[in-house]
């Protein structure tokens, strides 16, 4: 095992950050986590194949993730197959170990399927499954030269599906204080799409293009009221308004922002981005702007910290780290700091750490984690899985779930597994009444299992 390679997948709902330890340590390969249909090319692209796409108009996306959880295993397997193949990483999975990320509060029945894919389909020698935030203490995000990583830190992970505030104490996630806001990059893009389609061009079919517009133009306002007034001024004296030139795929010309005073080709179509530039990201700070009855990021941080031990709260305020693509929005950190400052106790220091590329920060932390000498002790091996099934993973990857009741069941399962061939395991270890559930038709399979 010692000489085998370690594959690292930060398995995001929008993009997978993938690499092999020692080969892609600073810059992971970023693979779209989607099966994409292009009408213009009349082709279907699976994951990494999207790089071959020429015509990005009216792309249809099939995403393995729904609201942040992995539900479409067919699509996910197609994308993973591509990543492990020689077209991307070129690894022999049965000779490698795997470090993969999963969503916060991943459902136990989904976690079992992760285990099944890793060991039964790809036959990895060993693997570890954990959340992105739990890797941050190993990385450089909050590291200070010459000092060990802080004992208390708070990670804000704002990704494609949702935004989480995750406090970490002595390297362990404090699950009782984790808070979630149901606003992510997907919602922001869809909202921008809707706003543009109502006000200017109908772009409802153009998720991909609108996402590029969002990444090029959007920012977080430092003073929402002031910027809103500034947008009332006619173009010319308006410091915010921008013109985005749509891409032209037939001429192989990508979309971009028009420079002030730049002459425009007659064939170019443009989009005026005025208050849309900041009212869209504003939803992260005010979800009620679209009728979502949840507090914004800053209040979520305050709520999370209020649930932590009182004597440590000051340390959490002073060690806040940002990961996830939304935190790359210009102005995000400044706005967060100024809002947190007004929420934190007066004598507390508020420090927010950000990285240059927050989308791949979790990946780089994962690299540091996988390179540590204790990593081999943190994994579940294939032998352990063959002996104990998913119980081995439940025990070792201890996450948000309570751990009691489990050992007794584990022993029973181990017994039955020891006697059965691989194909029959699933049938034998499920209580009789829920057998049908394994086929996917039964109701309440998971709940029945968990209550036993």
């Amino acid at each position: 095992m010692s000489d085998s390679s370690v594959v690292i997948l930060d398995n995001g709902a929008s993009t997978i950050k993938a690499g092999v330890l020692g080969m892609h340590d600073d810059h992971p390969l970023t693979i779209p986590n989607a099966v994409v249909r292009s009408k213009g090319d009349n082709a279907t692209y699976i994951g990494h194949e999207l790089a071959k796409c020429r015509d990005f108009t009216s792309l249809r996306f099939r995403l393995p993730f729904e609201k942040g959880f992995l539900v479409d295993w067919d699509a996910q397997k197609a994308i993973w197959d591509g990543i492990f193949s020689s077209e991307v990483l070129g690894v022999n999975t049965s000779q490698a170990s795997l470090l993969i990320t999963e969503p916060y509060f991943n459902l136990p029945n989904i976690q079992d399927v992760y285990d099944q894919f890793v060991f039964e389909e790809y036959e990895f020698q060993a693997y570890r499954r954990c959340t992105p935030a739990s890797l941050v203490p190993y990385g450089q995000l909050l590291a200070k030269p010459g000092l060990p990583p802080p004992e208390c830190l708070l990670v804000i992970d704002s990704g494609f599906s949702f935004t989480h505030v995750v406090p970490i104490l002595n390297g362990t996630v404090v699950w009782s204080a984790v808070k979630r806001i149901d606003v992510g990059g997907k919602l922001l893009t869809n909202h921008l799409k809707e706003v543009i389609s109502f006000r200017q061009w109908n772009l409802m079919e153009e998720t991909h293009i609108v996402n590029e517009v969002k990444e090029a133009c959007c920012f977080v306002s430092e003073d929402f009221g002031r910027d809103l007034e500034a947008c009332r001024v006619r173009p010319g004296d308006n410091p915010i308004v921008q013109e985005y030139i749509f891409p032209d795929y037939s001429a192989n010309r990508p979309g971009r922002i028009r420079r002030p005073g730049e002459p425009l080709d007659a064939s170019c179509q443009t989009l005026i981005m005025n208050n849309e530039r900041f009212t869209v990201p504003e939803i992260l700070f005010h979800p009620t702007d679209i009728g979502l009855d949840q507090a914004g990021i800053s209040a979520a941080v305050a709520e999370s910290i209020s649930l932590l031990p009182e004597d440590l709260q000051g340390m959490f305020w002073a060690n806040i780290g940002l990961i996830g693509g939304n935190t790359a929005l210009p102005g995000f950190r400044q706005r967060l700091i100024s809002e947190l400052r007004s929420l934190a106790p007066i004598d507390t220091e508020v420090i927010v750490y950000s990285s240059e590329d927050p989308a791949s920060e979790a990946y780089r932390s994962a690299v540091a984690f996988a390179a540590r000498p204790e990593f081999p002790q943190m994994v579940v091996t294939r032998e352990e899985y063959q002996e104990m099934g998913s119980n081995a993973c439940r025990r070792k990857f201890g996450d948000w779930k309570p751990m009691d009741k489990e050992p007794a069941r584990g022993r029973d399962q181990a017994k039955s597994r020891a006697h059965e061939g691989e194909m029959h395991i699933e049938k034998e270890d499920i209580p009789l009444a829920t057998k049908k559930g394994a086929r996917g038709r039964g109701r309440g399979r998971g709940s029945a299992r968990r209550q036993t």
């Binding site: 479409d72 193949s85 984790v178 997907k186």
Partner: protein
């Protein structure tokens, strides 16, 4: 189309503010739409099946909801010219029988965990303390006024006109 709709709207416009429950429902539906992968048409309008990004569509065109998917995408490509290996029953089941998140949450039993256990359902942040601010649903500026019928905010008479013509009651995009 428009002439037929006209009289109905007129009749409503008189004095029939929408039920707060209807408004809450509308907001919820809109939020669900914003979570869809290929959100292209509002759900209520009848076009473009709501489920089409949820379920695979078999080559014959019918959706494969609730039964084994006939065509899987993961079997379509063979990279490196490798023959596909025979998957175990667990893996095959996961590929063929897709369940949506609501079903999976139900089956996971996290609802029934003892009250102190943090779960996906309990981790959601609390509602904010301050009341929602009003932004014009047409232009994005502060919305000082609310539509008397559908409660959507707007900022001036100009936007009110646009609102009444396009968005009132039903969402046009």
């Amino acid at each position: 189309m428009p002439p037929r709709r006209q009289p109905v709207r007129q009749a409503h416009n008189q004095n029939a503010p929408l039920d707060p429950e209807v408004i809450a429902k509308r907001t919820k539906r809109h939020l669900d739409e914003l979570e869809r992968s290929n959100y292209s048409e509002p759900a209520g309008t009848g076009g473009g099946g709501e489920e089409d990004d949820e379920d695979g569509v078999a080559p014959s065109g019918r959706t494969t909801k609730g039964r084994a998917r006939q065509a899987t995408i993961s079997d379509k490509r063979q990279w490196d010219g490798k023959k596909p290996k025979k998957s175990t029953m667990n893996v095959r089941t996961a590929i063929l029988y897709k369940k949506n998140l609501a079903v999976l949450i139900e089956e996971s039993g996290i609802e029934h965990l003892p009250p102190g256990v943090p779960t996906y359902l309990r981790a959601v942040v609390s509602p904010p303390r301050e009341p929602p601010r009003m932004l014009c649903s047409v232009c994005g500026y502060w919305g000082k006024y609310k539509c008397r019928r559908c409660a959507m905010p707007y900022c001036d008479m100009n936007c009110e006109g646009v609102h009444n013509e396009t968005r009132c009651e039903r969402r046009v995009i």
